[in-house]
Symmetry: D2
Subunit: 140 residues, 4 copies
């Protein structure tokens, strides 16, 4: 089984709200950063280069997250990320974020592939399909 | 049936990414703003006063969103919000956001009630329960 | 003397940090929102339409802000905005933000005009120059 | 002369606006992250622990930034940070951010020290004064 990629986030004061924990609205942002980092680590190109250099977009169509415990700046946030679903024109990612060895939040995110300059659904390039396939850990 | 509250968001340039649409990470933020506005409109207190003046927290435990169409600054984003679930110590909200009369994204969000200074799950005050109950449109 | 435009910001919980006040990093963001609103109110086009429909960019080259008092969600944030400087290829804005009738922060912001698709400095269209000129309150 | 601390920021797609560069509103945020990282590296405590564990706040009273070139996700953003001013109850920082060996933006930021739970101006603890003093490169 493929070994999930890990992206580490340095949580800071500015991410927190008056309850002294990370504001809920920042958590999807963190998860997206982790997915972008997965692309960068596995294909060499994050979303910025995918769009601008490869004309390949991956807009999201579905977000779901369970928030188990409040995140704080006291520990780095370790986000494990892997593709958990691959369709003809779509890809899904699982993100599991832990701090201090406990699971803090987890989510599933689904994107479609698009031809970026036309914002039109498309099949991904074969090399992208192969990289996702090689790292796939299907959702159970 | 209760008439959903509407919160209007002025989408701007700074909310958008290089694909010329609102960055996905901003959309949960918009939905949370709409839920906070619901509290403010219906109880007089948004999250800031609930926490600081009422010692009542509502941390989120679940987020799910379907993103149908890309949001842009060309139209105001109209977010309809209503409670769609009320448990003993939890409350759920539905947010449906439209632009130019089309549904742009929709989501379900679940919070638990906490005693804010102890970050401990609690039942909400009776008046809060009544207000939520009076506006409830149960999920089907 | 021209009467400054006012843009009202609804400050929320998510804008605040654990010190229970708006996070410093959000304040320049608020000021920029106010400047964008000035463009929209005075020319019909905010930055999004200026760039996409008019091929006119206004990237910032200088930001300076004095922060007098902490901003909170207890009051709307009233931002008064006006152009305070007009050069051949540049424009400056003054933003003064108050809550509850006290001045909370104030700043000066300088942009250059660019041909957006070339990211090249340019003179603004004559109509833009006239609108800025008509609203100018020169810095003293 | 003290050697400036360097904080590296991974700029991403979500930081950028439709002009394909980092949104201006994000740049002060990046500079603040760099200052927070300086505190963490030099005292062991970033703002979160300073406030919560040490009852020491450092709210900002002045921000000024010159933006020389647009920041993109194509390179890491290297932020050099150092204290450039130390008053009886205040401290100033210089941040110089470069990408690909060119200076991208630079700024000066002034904070006052406060007793955090009273939000009252105060002198910093002697150990903090010594650490700042040891790293000071006075503004010229």
């Amino acid at each position: 089984m493929a070994n999930p990629f890990e992206h580490i986030i340095r949580v800071t004061w500015g991410d927190c709200d008056p309850a002294n924990i990370v504001y809920t609205g920042r958590l999807p942002w963190f998860a997206l950063d982790a997915i972008n980092a997965w692309w960068e680590a596995n294909t060499g190109h994050g979303w910025y280069k995918m769009e601008n250099d490869d004309n390949l977009g991956t807009p999201f169509v579905r977000i779901e997250m369970d928030l188990m415990s409040p995140v704080t700046p006291r520990h780095p946030l370790r986000c494990r990320v892997w593709p958990n679903r691959l369709g003809d024109t779509s890809v899904g990612f699982r993100v599991e974020a832990s701090q201090d060895d406990k699971l803090w939040f987890a989510g599933n995110f689904v994107s479609v592939f698009t031809q970026a300059d036309a914002f039109k659904k498309t099949q991904p390039p074969e090399i992208i399909r192969e990289i996702v396939q090689a790292n796939l850990i299907p959702a159970t």
